[in-house]
Symmetry: C2
Subunit: 495 residues, 2 copies
């Protein structure tokens, strides 16, 4: 278990003085912290950022770097796509739902083009070309990608337009994104205290957040925040006890984290009576290769399909890990396997191969006739270019013919034996629940009133997500609402 450090608040009166002072104190230097710090400093506040690790970056820096942006960005236009905030909203409300935060989501969509331009102005560059196939992350440098907008049922709910924006980078783009945002914040005058973890909030006699007590190499360091404290400490996937209490589905799986997603900001704030939202909601990625699945099928341990394989990969992951007991298998035929570009195979090899489905289903321990039945039904409809069960795009429909192979979907992008593959379950995730905030990042108490002097953004807060998740919406809402929190915090207070 993660050791439990007391997170209860400290009284300003008991504290006496402070080691450091600033207008706005930001706890956590990931994407939300960087955006908040930049905006607060640009608004004229003196800003200090505490970071538990040795330097800026956080989980954002180890992410893929995709940002979910749309409504008509210049990258979308250059690739020939017309988009509107309303179409973007319609897709996200469905894909991030049910029960997404519609007020936050509306704002996020309406101001997405402005946010795209803000990122560009910070030096984040995107290549104006589209990667046009389902994938976790293109192996190319294409700056635009589909994130499920063109898959059923979403293609019936909103005009299908790609909105995954990827900063120019070799492979993972999170590092590049954070280099730009960090540089912008530093240039705006933000001061960083690294190796310094916020531990407790300081409350004055009126119950206003007046600063934080932090730990630096085991020593206590105190900070006064004249205007406000902004918690951008990230989620809690690294805190096993919090997972057990709120999101146990992630226990034992790989973690999308820099190792410091310890939930400290959420704990500090709830200790003073802050409300939370949706603490059980998670992102999970089943590392299975989309390029393989669209050419074959994803089945459960009973040999049954359960989703159209051309959805956003996070969607089949969610459906599988949260709703469908494992094991899972990717079943492809030879023609399908061979047609996957080498770069999209990520070194994956079939676990089983067989001339007949009867043989394959026996190898996989499925009920006799089960996989045979599934493929027979699939083929019968695929011959007509149809998938009446799950509506996979006809582009990917073709009867499957022997020989067949089964691939363990734990192997793949983040798969077994690969660096960063974590526990070998083939599942990696992080938490989406957090503090209940207004659209300006003000943290609310259990009566719905703002706690004076306290803001939060990024995964320390509950963002635009309902039960669903789409790549790029965490960096997206972290930077977007981080900016708003930074501006509000700089304008707030009694200084």
């Amino acid at each position: 278990m993660t050791p439990v450090h007391p997170v209860e608040p400290v009284s300003a009166r008991d504290l006496g003085g402070y080691d450091h002072e600033c207008d706005v104190l930001v706890a956590g230097f990931g994407c939300a912290g960087a955006a908040a710090a930049f905006e607060a400093a640009t608004a004229g506040a003196s800003v200090l950022v505490l970071e538990k690790a040795g330097g800026p970056g956080g989980t954002s820096a180890v992410s893929g770097g995709e940002l979910y942006l749309g409504g008509g960005t210049r990258i979308q236009q250059a690739c020939g796509f017309d988009d509107t905030p309303d179409e973007m909203y319609a897709y996200l409300e469905a894909a991030l739902g049910p029960h997404a935060d519609t007020a936050k989501l509306r704002l996020y969509c309406d101001q997405s083009v402005e946010h795209f331009e803000w990122l560009r102005a910070r030096g984040v560059a995107f290549k104006p070309s589209l990667y046009d196939a389902p994938t976790w992350m293109p192996y190319t440098e294409d700056g635009l990608m589909w994130l499920g907008e063109n898959a059923w049922p979403y293609n019936t709910l909103a005009k299908p337009v790609p909105r995954g924006h990827r900063p120019v980078a070799k492979g993972f783009g999170g590092q590049v994104l954070m280099e730009k945002l960090t540089a912008a914040a530093i240039e705006a005058g933000v001061v960083t205290h690294a190796d310094t973890a916020a531990a407790n909030l300081v409350l004055d006699d009126e119950g206003r957040v007046a600063g934080v007590v932090a730990r630096r190499y085991g020593e206590r360091v105190t900070y006064r925040a004249r205007k406000a404290v902004i918690l951008t400490t990230g989620g809690f996937v690294d805190n096993e006890e919090m997972l057990a209490h709120h999101a146990p589905v992630l226990i034992g799986h790989g973690k999308v984290s820099d190792g410091n997603s310890d939930g400290s900001g959420i704990r500090m704030a709830t200790a003073i009576g802050a409300a939370t939202r949706r603490m059980g909601v998670v992102e999970v990625a089943l590392t299975a290769l989309p390029a393989m699945l669209v050419r074959g099928m994803l089945v459960d341990g009973l040999g049954r399909r359960f989703i159209n394989e051309d959805v956003y990969p996070g969607m089949f992951s969610h459906h599988a890990v949260l709703h469908q007991p494992g094991p899972y298998w990717a079943v492809v035929d030879e023609e399908g396997f061979e047609s996957v570009p080498e770069d999209e195979r990520w070194g994956v090899r079939p676990a089983f191969a067989a001339e007949s489905l009867a043989e394959l289903e026996a190898e996989l321990g499925m009920p006799p006739g089960s996989l045979e039945n599934t493929v027979e039904v699939y083929n019968r409809h695929a011959e007509k270019g149809e998938d009446p069960y799950f509506h996979k795009d006809p582009r990917w429909l073709r009867p499957l013919r022997p020989p067949f192979a089964a691939i363990d979907p734990r192997e793949g992008f983040f798969g077994l034996g690969r660096e960063g593959s974590g526990t070998g379950t083939g599942v990696n995730g992080f938490t989406l629940g957090g503090l209940h905030t207004t659209v300006d990042g003000a943290v609310l108490n259990h009566s719905g009133a703002p706690i004076p002097g306290l803001y939060a953004a990024g995964r320390a807060a509950a963002g635009i997500h309902g039960e669903g998740y789409v790549s790029g919406t965490s960096l997206g809402d972290g930077t977007f609402f981080g900016r708003r929190a930074g501006r509000a915090a700089a304008g707030a207070g009694t200084a």
Copy 2:
């Protein structure tokens, strides 16, 4: 939206005096409150119970009254079943899991026979006969019933022994149970203030809970609790805003509640920094008739089975409502329908009937061939007495023959058009998440330390449940841990 009353704490210093004083103040007079009040009074404390409604009972009184008890009660023995705490634990850990609270569960099982005898001593009577078929609630007065112990996979994990104990009652037994428990508490000297809703906790200068501020007909009434406050205010299914934040899956469905499951205790405690657990976990009942399903099949809108139909009805409900998009259909043949005892039909009539499955699946809007395929596969195995997909008990396996009928599973026990059927979704539920407590009911803060003077039990607290639920475990853990909280509260404190 539910109106938001401020729940932030009140300072004892600001309060001056109190209108009423007692040793132990219990907020909420359902089963947990009754058990806590009885034990605290029996231990010598002066006990006052506040109840928002006009009299005792709470949600417990509108429930079915089943209590999940075992380990070898005299009712189990009289019906010819040997049971042990270990077998009971093995079943519940699986059925209430994953991620049940094992410390609470262990205690609950080890002391279940003692708890049974405690209930008997309070006048709760059980008839020593078994109802031997899957059902939500027997139409007989049998005192013992199966709650999924004999269904796959649970029958492979623990010795199948029935543990559903039903107080002698015509129909719903919750009213009888609460009459007995209320009478016992009153007789032990407990004083009740009805029409009085606890609204805020009172904190002394040391941060100890010293009482509550309540509302009675719009007037403020203050209570000093010399030893402790016990929150037994129930869950939050009636609080739409809390549902949106924590358990949105229940929005729009029917509520298993007396109408006062407003989450007030959870909100009052979290406002002073109490921790919660598993706020998203819910019980849901799809009102479909088990007697109909076991004789046919439960299918989704694609005509596919997804679970063995002889499981505890809450289990197919959970699987359906939480994991399987609707619609759902109960498909039976004429022979199956006719063999359901009239008393187990609850007036249900088929929505569609057809001579062929092709006709029926067309009526139901299923993909062509889908239901035909499902029944063909089912029949092929049923002829051999097998169900290799879901392992339904051979007792219920039989090839289905024309004519066929489809029943809307929203019709049934709590079904469409029936009194108390709520919204017509055919789903009724309540919340299982709540305050984080020790096995003695002490409410913990976010650092894992008890908040002095504060206890909780029943659905205001997180109990023995992981993600699962079985009938009788809410009244069961409410009374069991209510008793423990009452004893601890009476012995605690500085009086």
